[in-house]
């Protein structure tokens, strides 16, 4: 009857949604409770392997984000949703871990470039991990909103929607200038053709 299908290109999810297939919007502000990862992330994992895996997950996450600290509460929740409860990712995660543990890495670019060269099937998992940390979203579900890491990058400039704690009429002030980034992507792009929205 009608010439559109939800799964394919959803032309009118269009208006305000963009047809990201797997993941979607939103998350929020800064994980200030960031503490040193290795600290105790593995301590409350239920099985010895889960403990080892979750520790690996935090170490890989630190590397993928080039950060020195990450929020362990969010880390635990992400590990659980991404890997622990999702068998389909477990094999891939094992592959990613073994590459990660094979040598020390200078930074995220170094690790991902090498990992993807060795195993071209890894980018979706790497992206899922990053969507989890930065956007707070795993498999089209919100894991955290305000605490998603992307908001730590725009702290006191752009607020998580519904949590604007700025000065009165803060939006009239001049925000900081952001220079054109010099970095390069290290994975092949996988961006939906049209943003839809």
């Amino acid at each position: 009857m009608v010439g559109y299908s939800r799964e394919k290109d959803r032309p009118f999810s269009a208006f305000f949604s963009f047809p990201w297939r797997r993941r979607h919007i939103l998350a929020t502000g800064l994980s200030a409770v960031a503490i040193s990862v290795t600290a105790d992330i593995s301590s409350d994992a239920s099985s010895p392997t889960a403990g080892a895996d979750s520790l690996d997950f935090m170490k890989i996450s630190l590397c993928l984000t080039d950060r020195k600290t990450l929020d362990p509460v969010l880390g635990k929740a992400l590990f659980c949703r991404l890997i622990g409860k999702t068998p389909k990712r477990q094999a891939k995660f094992g592959q990613l871990s073994s590459i990660f543990n094979s040598q020390p890495w200078e930074n995220a670019n170094h690790f991902v470039t090498t990992a993807v060269k060795q195993n071209p099937d890894l980018p979706p998992l790497i992206r899922d991990i990053l969507h989890g940390w930065y956007r707070g979203i795993v498999d089209e579900k919100v894991v955290v909103y305000r605490s998603a890491m992307m908001f730590s990058l725009t702290r006191n400039i752009l607020y998580p929607k519904t949590y604007a704690n700025g000065d009165l009429f803060y939006w009239t002030s001049r925000p900081p200038e952001v220079p054109l980034p010099k970095g390069q992507p290290v994975m092949k792009p996988d961006v939906p053709e049209s943003l839809g929205k």
Binding site: R6, F12, H24, K161, T172, K197
Partner: protein, 545 residues
């Protein structure tokens, strides 16, 4: 299926949105007895806010409002045909979003509170296209102001920015200060094009108003203002209740009953969620449901006396379905950082295309640079482009500070073939048919959309834009109108210039269904003004009639 017959009031209103609640408030304040029947439940802001934060895409603004089975509304824009079924060549352009809950659809809206232009009411006389309304701008002007005061509208000083709709009073509140991004956009457009950017009039507090707070810039007007700084119909519901009106929620009206002469409506019937039926009698009846639901109810009430439906001797009920149609592009600006998304969602407007001699062949439109927080889009894009680590974070910050979205509302046009009917295949849990709409975009609107696309390209050039992502096709703006069109002639219209149905002397319709043209700008203020004018008529009717 028990029937109770103990409900009666001077004024019986179907629908509790801006229209229904403002009539209820006005009439209850005079001491009249008022019953308002609302199909959906009473909801709390705090629960919707929690839902909102649990949704992935904050721009799918129906998602935080999962409907009750007996008051289905379109679940969200990416789940078409779950309740509102659309067909025809431009079916996707009519997948409207609306709510059926106490207070109505202004729980989520951008709060843009435009008055229509005088020409919008006289499209046929001035430009030879479309239809004229059965009233003129001047008839509505006092009620526009009453609506602005009721809702709390802020706007520019008309001496500095004349928005084209003559005013006798200034806006109740000072204009909302533009965001830095909007201010830069305004400078660019004002300086480098023949066009201008104006402050959008908005039902949003720039100071304490009606004991609600000043806007804090949560950038979440849709799906929900978390702090009540933006007007919602529920505020008027609460005032109406305080004035003595009785609102019955979860009351799904399914039939309008006329008396033996068929000149008057004698009762309406509703189902509660358990499908017990209740009959409500009254002196005057107002159908103030959503445009789609109002027409649905009239059609649903067909019987021997009114075989095509109540108030439908003209066969115009459900026809002339209109909307504003959207054109949209998101791109990366090449200018200095803008950081869109600080402050409320929609504050700036290019208003040069709201009227002009070209309206004899193409529709008017208005353009927003949407002040929408782009951080999530920037993040999703940067990750999917393949960045990681520090480079990813730099890319996110750059995207969040440079992504820009332009969109336009383009004017629709009444066409009797664009028609709402009752679905023959889909029914809700109460056995009431779902609405179905056939839709083909009028050429008038298509030409308007083409024109705004050209303008967007021009603006993108000015902004050294790159990586444009156009929203494919045409999409609805959730401003449906025309389903119970207004006119002087009972043969080709449903209501007269006072929103009274031609067929039944005590039946009024207060919804965007009565619009005879689409104009530009959001329809809510005009809906509210028309409703307040109906309230004025009803006061005369019950006290002097």
């Amino acid at each position: 299926m028990a029937s109770s017959n103990d409900l009666s009031a001077d004024i019986v209103i179907v629908g509790s949105g801006v229209a229904g609640s403002s009539i209820a408030k006005e009439l209850a304040s005079t001491g009249a007895s008022v019953i308002v029947l609302e199909a959906g439940p009473r909801v709390d802001r705090q629960h919707i806010l929690d839902n909102c934060r649990n949704t992935v895409n904050k721009n799918k603004y129906d998602e935080p409002y999962p409907p009750s089975p007996w008051s289905m509304h379109p679940p969200d824009q990416s789940t078409p045909n779950a309740y509102l079924h659309t067909t025809g060549p431009d079916a996707q352009a009519y997948q409207q979003s609306y709510l059926r809950i106490l207070g109505g659809t202004t729980w989520h809206w951008s709060a843009c509170a435009w008055r229509y232009l005088p020409s919008d009411f006289e499209l046929q006389s001035r430009y030879g296209v479309g239809r004229d309304w059965a009233l003129k701008y001047d008839d509505l002007e006092p009620f526009y102001y009453q609506a602005e005061s009721m809702m709390g509208v802020c706007g520019p000083d008309p001496k500095i920015e004349d928005l084209g709709s003559p005013r006798r009073q200034p806006y109740p509140m000072d204009a909302l200060p533009l965001s830095y991004a909007s201010e830069q956009f305004k400078k660019l457009i004002d300086t480098h094009t023949p066009y201008r950017v104006v402050h959008e009039p908005q039902a949003r507090n720039t100071r304490r108003y009606d004991n609600r707070p000043t806007c804090e810039g949560n950038n979440n007007c849709m799906p929900l203002c978390p702090i009540g700084a933006m007007y919602n119909g529920i505020h008027t519901v609460m005032h109406a209740e305080a004035a003595g009106a009785r609102f019955i929620d979860n009351a799904v009206v399914y039939k309008i009953e006329t008396d033996a002469s068929n000149k008057k409506v004698s009762a309406v019937h509703y189902y509660d969620p358990d499908k017990n039926s209740h009959r409500v009698t009254g002196r005057i009846f107002v159908i103030a449901a959503h445009c789609i639901e109002s027409a649905k109810l009239l059609l649903l009430s067909a019987d021997d006396k009114n075989p095509a439906g109540v108030a439908n001797s003209s066969d115009q009920v459900g026809r002339n379905m209109m909307d504003h149609t959207g054109v949209q592009v998101t791109f990366m600006s090449g200018l200095d950082s803008l950081w869109c998304g600080r402050g409320p969602l929609e504050t700036n407007v290019i208003d040069n295309f709201r009227d002009g001699s070209w309206r004899n062949e193409r529709g008017a439109y208005l353009v927003h640079m949407v002040d929408d927080n782009q951080i999530d889009l920037a993040t999703a894009l940067a990750i999917d482009k393949g960045y990681v680590g520090k480079d990813l974070e730099d890319e996110i910050r750059y995207g969040a500070s440079h992504l820009v979205r332009l969109f336009s509302h383009n004017e629709g046009m009444p066409d009797p073939n664009n028609r709402l009917t009752l679905s023959k295949t889909h029914k809700d849990v109460l056995g009431i048919p779902h609405p179905e709409v056939y839709y083909k975009l009028p050429e008038y609107t298509v030409r308007s959309c083409d024109n705004s696309r050209q303008l967007f390209k021009e603006i993108m050039g000015l902004m050294k834009g790159s990586d444009p992502r156009w929203t494919p096709g045409y999409f609805p703006q959730d401003h449906p109108a025309g389903s119970t069109i207004m006119g002087h002639d009972p043969k080709d219209s449903v209501v007269d210039g006072h929103n009274r149905t031609h067929d039944h002397e005590n039946l009024f319709i207060a919804s965007s269904g009565v619009f005879a043209s689409m104009g530009t700008g959001n329809i809510t203020l005009t809906v509210a003004a028309l409703a307040l004018r109906v309230a004025d008529t009803l006061k005369k009717e019950i006290y002097h009639g």
